[in-house]
Amino acid sequence: MSAPTTSPAPQQTIAAPTRTVGEHVRDYVARLRGGDLGALPAILGLLVLCTVFSIVRPAFFSAGNFANLFTQGAAVTLIAMGLVFVLLLGEIDLSAGFASGVCAAVLAVLVTLQGLPWYVALLAAIATGTLIGFVLGFLVAKIGIPSFVVTLAAFLAFQGIVLLLIKGGTNISVRDEALVAIANRNLPTALGWALAAVGVGGYAAVQLLRHRNRSRRGLATDPTGVVLFRIAAVAVIAGVAVYILNLERSINTLISSLKGVPIVVPIIVALLVVWTFVLQRTAYGRHVYAVGGNKEAARRAGINVDRIRISVFVICSSMAAVGGIVAASRGNSVDANTGGSNVLLYAVGAAVIGGTSLFGGKGRVLDAILGGAVVAVIDNGMGLMDASSGVKFTVTGSVLLLAAGVDALSRRRAAATGNR
């Protein structure tokens, strides 16, 4: 049975190094059929919703409302971005909404009641989020309490802490100009264009360098056409968005001018880039996916599973703090409801609608933004239609259920076709 000694064959090709655009499209279709829907449902949903609302309420399709969508959806989207990390491990953080409330309250107390500089208050708020996340993660990873229970308890407790911080039913206003600017002011039009150019240029450079590096080493690459298409798509989306946001939105330009990209938009994009880099390009991110996919395999591979579990709660609560700061900025104040009512459900919904799985191991930070857009569009469009809160909640709840259903079904389909 012993075969002649085989010297390692030089570079036997396991995958054809270059694939055609046709093959690429066929692969994609095969993945879809295999249950890996990715961002497709969110994008389709977004298109359908926007079309319907534009027809029913033409005001939906105005420059002013487009800008509103960003500032309305920002806080929920930021919280959802952090939740993606927790969901990747198959855990849940039900306290993220009120954690954002606690951090916003810390911000307001420090800047308004204590009169500290805005940046000190801002850092303190984020540090509060980090501390909260560490405590939650520690209870889950080291003590072994299920995350559902830990964060349900925290959900209740944080609600109380917000009340204690703002001393009962009052609200604390946030008037500091720098803090108010975050969600209420816009970039100069030229700066908007410049940032878009830098962003698209950077994306193109990364994509092209990677493509060149891989094909030079004889590794399988995406077809050049697909890479160029991706870059063009990002350029068009960024260009159109900046163009619309730079249109005049003021009703009477003689009184005031209102145009430019809301400041919160580059903040979200920057965080998207940072967290995507962390998840896709660093060993830490790889380990997050590994723990979410198979905890025991990760442990045997020498990964410190407890540390990963704690860290995702730290990231989640810290992002919740950022969301809380944006919410405080937008409302110019913090009250007992900041981060409460539907914030958490909208955030979880955003992540799941975007394509992040509730079963762990699958998801991207971009999902939170796509799903956040869907949630913001529903909320905004139904508002324009004068729908009551009752109708809004019912519709959003149904959409969340639909998304979770798609997640569960695609998972089943993937299991049936051997894709998972």
Partner: protein, 272 residues
Amino acid sequence: MSATPLLELRGIDKSFGPVQVLRNVDFAVYPGEVTALVGDNGAGKSTLVKCISGIYPTDGGQFFFEGQPVTVNGPRDAAGLGIEVVYQDLALCDNLDIVQNMFLGREKRNGIVLDEATMEQLAGETLAGLSVRTVKSLRQHVSSLSGGQRQTVAIAKAVLWNSKLVILDEPTAALGVAQTAQVLELVRRLADRGLAVVLISHNMNDVFAVSDRIAALYLGRMAAQVKASEINHSQIVELITAGRSGDLGLPPENGAENGAEQAVTVTPGAPQ
């Protein structure tokens, strides 16, 4: 084949509380050879492997690696010596692709950035070196692989690190005929490349198909370790079930059988 064993264990003892699972076990593994480790359920095979890979501390005995005495205090020490274990339950992440799984926990990086290109290249070379041609793409998720392909990835993961000794705990237990043949061929190729391979299996046909040496454990004792060419099927079965076969194996115990003696040790309160 070669005279000095790559790994030699002398007089290994291992107890879990009052239960002595391994007693005075000698075991030698040679480079370029497949050593089959056989024995009945509960004979102590997996325990012996876990002692080698540093998961369990031993109560007594010595380790020699390449002739030098060594101590293995944890999985990292074993990996440092070049010992890799393919566990029966594989330990792959379904949601990661082949390359990501092969480098899990030991990723190559440039600064803080993962060096995907280098990892993909090394993974491709390793699989090609093992003459594995059945996977379509290195970027396939492990979830889409067959049982045999997964086993192949797990084995490739073990040889990626210039390992010198690869231990496979029942690698073919869950596989069909064709895939078993595929994995056994791979096992043979590893040895032909100069690695020492330990194969645990309950299937005597598999054992005789690929191994150069056979070591039989009987109730925690090493009954015999012999060249595969010097023993036949029924002798091995006798060694496994009775601990001795002709002049091979454990010396006959005076009076009480080995098994009865064990029972006394396990339940000291109730001897006849």
